[in-house]
């Protein structure tokens, strides 16, 4: 868990918000929705390793 990951996710979040607004203003709502979803999926793939570590930790802490 390094700080770079956090910065990357923040930057992608900002850029996806900008893209969403640009596309909505240009009238292309469906494409705006698609790009937001795509950004969400990309961030999830970046984060998934950390989530799996989290579940491992939870499992060991509670001894399950």
């Amino acid at each position: 868990m390094d700080i770079n990951l956090l910065f990357k996710i923040a930057a992608i979040g900002i850029l996806v918000a900008v893209l969403h607004q640009v596309l909505v203003r240009a009238g292309r709502e469906d494409q705006a929705m698609m790009t937001t979803l795509a950004g969400l999926v990309i961030v999830l793939t970046m984060v998934i390793k950390e989530i799996s570590t989290l579940f491992e930790t939870v499992r060991t802490v509670f001894g399950l």
Binding site: K8, L15, L19, G39
Partner: protein, 169 residues
Amino acid sequence: MQIIKYLMLVIILIFCTYIGILISQRYSNRVKDLKEMKTALNIFSTKVKLTYEPIPQIFKEISKKMKKEISDIFMKASSNMEYMQAGDAWIKSLEVSNTNMNKDDIEVLKGLSNLLGKVDIEGQVSEIELIDTFLNSQIEKAEEERKKNEKMYKTLGITVGLVITIILF
């Protein structure tokens, strides 16, 4: 190693921005081309009304005054007319042309060919006026499209480049 990575990221960013700018220029170029074609047809109609020059010569003169692609269309049409009918020469040179106009625009311009060199002067002049009106309405539509799309594609290009750069950072 790090330097090569940073260099590649910068190249990807510049590339995406460039693609965005290219796509946005297509819209502004279409407006410019439509306006040039309108001017060229106006010159043609004036010359046909007032002078009695043959059509290939008028085309050559028009092509000297216009800018690149439109000038090519008229030049090719004029040289094609040496061995085929005026209407066919016009159609052929429109087909091999390299402008930014839509297929619809080119279809209507091909419609000119039916009357070119076949009917009398008034017929040709009124046909040109008809096409002039059509070009006006197309120019309006193209201006609207340009206003909507030009800025959007530029911003899109830059943002997508940034997103890809950040993912691969």
